[in-house]
Amino acid sequence: MAKDHDPTDGAAVGSTVEKHGANPPSHGTAVVVADEVQNPGFPPFRPRVTDLSPEKEKQAERRVSAWFFVSIIGSVLAIVAYIVFPIHEGDLLSVRLNNLFLGLGITLGLLGIGIGAVHWSKALMDGHDLVELRHGTRGTDETRAKAVEVFQLGNKESGFTRRKLIRNSLIGALAVSPLPAVVLFRDLAPAEDPVALLKHTMWDKGVRLTRDPSGTPIRASEVTLGSAFHVIPEGLLESDHKLEEKAKAAVLLVRLKPEDLHVSPGREDWSYAGIVAYSKICTHVGCPVALYEQQTHHLLCPCHQSQFDISHEAKVIFGPAKRPLPQLPITVDEEGYLVARSDFTEPVGPSFWEREL
C-alpha cells in the first residue's frame, strides 16, 4: 500500500481530501491564506545503532530471544507454583503465597513475550516510516450513483413508495410487533402492588424489639442513657423474606434524657422514659443510617452524609435527605420488654412517587 508520494503537493492542514466530489467541500469559517508556510517534506532518515553496527544488531537479536526464554521460564514457574503452593483450608498465608507466586510466574511469562516483541520491532525490524495516501471517505460519484440506482430499482420493483397502503401498514405492524415483548416483562415481579408492600413493615402492636442480629428481646432497663441498639422485630429471623423485611424494619434504639427530647403533639406516648426508636433506613436512597454520635444525638448516613437530629425527632439537619427518619412508637409490655405500639405511621426508606397517597 505504501506508495511514492511527494509530500509537498496538496496543502498541509485541512486540505480537501475528497477528490471524488464535483465541488470541493466547504471550509466553513476556516481561514485560507495564500502564503502559508510550506511543508518542508520528510527529514532525512536517522539510522539506529542496530542499522549501523552488525555487532549491536547481533546483541539486540540475543536480547530479544533472551526475553522469549525468560517468558518460557516464567510460564514453567507458574505451573510449578500452582503445584508447590497448594491452598490449605483455613490457612490464609497459603492463599497469599499461591496468589503471589502463580501471579509472578504468569507475569514473567507474559512480560517476556511482550518486551521481547516490542524490542524486536523497535531495534531490528525495518525502521523506515512508510507513507500511505488517504482517499476521501465518501464513495466516488460513480459508486454513489450506482447505490442510488440500486435503491431506485428496489423501490420501483417493490413499489415501496408507490403502494402507500402496504408501506404504512407494514410500518404500523412493525411498530406494534415488539409490544408483546414489553408485556412479557410484567412477570419479572409478583402480581402484588408494590405500593402496598412499601407502606407496611413487620412492626405491629405488641411486637418485641430484639437485638440485631441475635434476635434477643430488649428490656427497657437494659437501655442505659447514651447507649444505642441496632434493632429488628421479633420473628424476623424466622421470616422467609428476611432481608426484604429487614430492609424495611431495621430500627435504631437510643436513650436520651427525657428533657432533651423535643416531642411534637401526638407523639407524647411514642417513647418510653427517654427511649426512642427510629427507622434506620435513610429517607434519601435507603442506606442504613448507622453512625450515631452520642454527644450531639446526631445520626449520620455514611453513604451520602445526611444527618438527622434524634433530639428533634430525627429531622434532617444536613445532607440531601428531605424527610426525618420515621419514628416507631414504642412502649413496654408487662414483662418489661420493649414492644412496638404499632407499625410505622408512614412508609420508611427512600421516597417514591405514590408515597403520600
Partner: protein, 540 residues
Amino acid sequence: MTTTAPTTETKPETGRGMRFVGWASNYIDERTSISGLVRELGRKIFPDHWSFMLGEVALYSFIVILLSGTFLTFFFQASMVPVIYDGSYVPLKGIEMSVAMQSTLDISFDIRGGLLMRQVHHWAALLFVASIGLHMLRVFFTGAFRKPREINWVIGFVLFILAMAEGFTGYSLPDDLLSGNGLRIIDGMVKGVPIVGTWISYLLFGGEFPGFDIVGRLYVLHILLLPAILIAALGVHMVLLVINKHTQFAAPGRTNDNVVGVPIMPVFAAKAGGFFFIIFGVIVLIASLFQINPIWAYGPYDPSPVSAGTQPDWYIGFADGALRLVPPGWEVVIFGFTLSLNILIPLLVLPLFLAIVAFYPFLEGWITGDKREHHMADRPRNAPTRTAIGAAGVTFYAVLWAAASSDLIATHFKLTIEGVINALQALLFVAPVVAYFVAKRVCLALQKKDREIALHGFESGRIVRLPGGEYIEVHEQLDEYERWKLVSYTDYKPLMIRPDERGRITVRQRIRAGFSRWFFEDRIEPVKQTELEAGHGEHH
C-alpha cells in the same frame, strides 16, 4: 525517510515448513479469498505517538477481562439462595450468606489461582474504564473527533457507557455488604423517578428490595447482553478506524492527504502484539501484589449494617458525588405525588453532561461549518476554546468525583463534613469557569510563544558584546522541520452574519454567529511564509 523499504535480498525459502505454509495459504484462499484482505490491510500504515496507545490499552485490557471473566464463570454461581458458609475462610464459617457470595469466597479461598483471576478481572476492569476515559480525552483535546470521525466518537462514547455498566453489574455480583449497599442506592434512585420509579424498582428486583433475583439478572446482563453489545460496538469502532485511517500529528512530510508511520506487517503487529502481552503482564503483576475488593472483609449483604467511609469503584464516583452535593430539602409533594428532586436533579444533570460529551463533535462542526475531512490531530493549544471547554468539563467531573469521597476528605484533612460538602457545592459551579479561563489563556499564551519562536528563534543563552559596547543575546533559528510543527494548524475566524438570499438573518444564523464568536474571537494566526521571510532578516 524514504517511501519504499530498503530491500535486503532474501533468497526464497524452500524448507518443508515453507511448503506447508504455501499449501495452507492456498487452501484457505481458495475457500475464502482472504488474500484480498491481506493485500488491503497487511501493509496498512499506523502513525506513531504515545497518546495513540491509550485506546490500545483499553482494547487489550478488555481482552484480559474476557479471558479472566470466562475463567470466573466456570466457578461462580449467580444465585441468591441463602446458605450457611462452610468454606475455608474461618472467620465467616457458620454465617448465612447467598450462594453467590459463597461461590465468590470459594473462588478466592478454595480454587488455586481463583483469587488471582478475580483480582486480574477487577484490576483489568478498572484499567479498562480508566484507559477509555483517557483515550476519550486524547481524542477530544486533539480534535480527532472531527469529520469523518464523528460517528466513531459516538460509538466510542457508547463503549464508555457500556464499560461503566459492565463495571457496575460485575461489582454487584458477589452480593457482599458493599455491593449490596450499592444496589440499595440504585433501588433508592430508581424509586425517585416520577410515575414509573416504584414499578421499575419492583420489576428490576423481582419484588421488594433485595429479593432473590437481582444477582441472577445482573449476571445475565454482565456476561451475555452487555458484552455482546460491547463487542459489536467495538467491532464497528475498529472497522471505522480502518476505513478512516488513524489521525496523525503535524510533522514534516505529513499532510492531511497521507498517513506516515509503520506498516501492520510486521512492525505494528509486533509492537501492538507485544504491547498486549505487556498490558496483560502488568495487570497480572498488579493482581499478584495488590489486593482488590476483599469481600470477605465486608461480609455478606445485610440491609442493616454499613461501614463508614464506604466507596464505590472509582468510575461510579461522579454519580455518587452528584447525589451527595444536593442541598437539603429538595423534595416536594404535588397533588399527593412525591417528587424527589434530590434524586431527579442528579439523574437529569448527569445525562445532560454526558449528552454534551456525546454530541460535542456535531456542535463544533456546526459552528465552524468546516465540511472538509480532518486527519491532522490538533495540538490542544491550537484550539483554545475547545481545550478550555474540555478543561471545564474535566473539572466539573473531578468535583463530582471528589464529592464521592467527601467523608474521607473530611476525616483525612481534619475538616468538617459540612464544610467539605459546601465547598464542593461552590466549586461545582466556580471551578469549571476558572478552569475554562485559565486553560484558554494558557493556550493563547502558548500559541503566542510558538509564534514568537517560529519567527524569531529561541534564546540561545549566548551573550555577545558588539563592537559598540552593546550586549545582545543571540537567538537561534529553529530548523525548518521543527518550525513546521509550530506553524502548521487550522485557523478559524468568527462567522460574519450575512443575510440569506431572501434578505433575512435567521435566528439560527445569529445563534451560530454567537457560538462562533465565542469560539474564535480570541485567535492567534499561524505564521505566514512572508512573515517568516521578513522575520529572518532581523537577528536579535
